[in-house]
């Protein structure tokens, strides 16, 4: 099982690589849409990239849509990862 800290690092790395963002800009309170410049089209690509990296499904659309900041995203991924572990 990977720790929350590892999730944090991996999410940051994926966002930096897949969306070509400066690592310094990836602060927890950065908002995906205003600060990082993602748009609704990027949202699906982001979900697909994270699903692939963590081998899980992010099918709860409400939860994905309520993500505003990177911190929200870390939380969501951690929650889904933990749920997956409990299920297994």
């Amino acid at each position: 099982m990977i720790s929350d800290e590892q999730v944090y690092q991996q999410v940051t790395q994926i966002m930096a690589e897949e969306f070509e963002l400066e690592p310094e800009s990836l602060q927890p309170d950065a908002t995906l849409y205003e600060d990082l410049g993602l748009d609704s089209l990027d949202a699906v690509d982001m979900v697909v990239a994270l699903e692939k990296a963590f081998g899980m499904k992010m099918t709860d659309e409400e939860a994905v849509r309520s993500v505003r900041t990177l911190a929200d995203l870390f939380d969501l991924v951690c929650r889904l990862k933990n749920r997956q572990v409990t299920k297994e």
């Binding site: 690509d45 697909v48 099918t59």
Partner: protein
Amino acid sequence: MKAEVVVIGSGISGLTAAALLAKKGKRVVILEQNRRPGGALKRFTRRGIPFDIGFHYSGGMGKGEILRALWKYIGVWPRLAVLPFPEEGNENLRIMDSGKVVRAFFSYDRLEDELQRVFPGEKQGIYAYLNKIREISNTIPFFNLDLPLTPYLHDLFSPKGMSLAQLLMSLIRDTDLHAVLSTPVFLYGVPPREVNLTIHASVAHPLYSGVYAIDGGGQAIVDAFLATLAEAGVDILTGQKVESVLIRGNQVAGVKTSEKEIYASHVIYTGHPTSLLDLVPGEIFRKAFCNRMRNLINTDSMFIVFGAIDDPDTLGDLTWINYYNIRTGLDIMDLDLRHPEKSIMINAPGRRDSDSTGASGGVLLIRMSVWDEVARFDQGVREKRSAAYRKWKAESADKMIEQAGRLWGDAYSRIEPLAIGTPLTFRDKLGLPMGATYGVRHSMNQFSPGVRTRLPGLWLSGQGTLMAGIMGASLAGMVTVGEIEGLEPLWYEVRQCR
């Protein structure tokens, strides 16, 4: 050369999009890499026999139904002679494990009667399944034309819900019946365990509501569109492979083919979404998008024998009946190359022509295929193929003909192959990666590509974006134009034509 919109591809989605835009007063140019327009709808002729490739039948052409409304709105409908399948028409499904034969009629009521006759112990499950499909189709705007499109399209692109396999397992025990009710998957290429009920119902519902052929086959559809487009002043340039999309600032500026540049502020791409990446400079899209498009899972391919039979009358009623030999259970799409008995399908779409003098001798034998079968013969697009490939192709065809003879009578063993389609053929002639017959797999395991892209003015369309099939691809053309011109107003106008 200048236009307002360039449409890349002249399959049914490109033809539909171009016709709708022209109707809206736009100056449109279609670019097609092949010498003849029409994509998968084109017919080809061998020894005077015309053969259809990508159109054998379709639903949605009855009174008040969607394709009829859309094609009326476009103006092609009056140019088509539509042939409804007669009541007795059906998919004749033989289950190889039990030898059971089921006639899947193209009508909810007749299908239900037949299924109850063959599977008397499953009455409730049969009723519940058909009811479920009807119920879901009622929430889909293409079948309940009073509904708005926007909410439906929003949900469609997020894969979720129950799979067809889950539904069937929850309602029915008999594995032969699982197979029978799964057969619509052959028309869109997603295995029952991976397809959600919305996609399945989008094909199953029109199938159970009545299907139609067109006099002259897919070519007649192409010709009708070409006539309408010519009247509207749309140019179709063939033999023009688009090599790149031109960009000025952060905006589409046109396209470039090997011969010319055509300037336009909108470009609609109807080919396979993965190949879009070859047309656009690397820095335009983000890596996440490129990876997603590159990793799309596609449908499997097919192996098709286009054959001739000297005495067509010896084959029985092949005009309005499609014969299938399938395995039991939910894995009917899996191709087990080691298993001697394969799922196989036989039909004769050309026989439905009113002038069937040439067409009546043509027969299609179809089975599933995968890229692995031909990978060792691949020497690149349109290279001359090896003798080993031709030998493999001929032997595989002979096996199918022999099998058809065993299954459906001696007459079938006299079929003479005139042309053979393999995954390599579909890749080279239709631009389908690894010969994926229906392109992108509209599976619950992935998000299908949307219509918009990050590059303003560049739009996607085609079977990869919405649904496979003539209906799915034509509607995809409509949806893309709707995104450009205003979705609900266009939808409102189209449905007035029902």
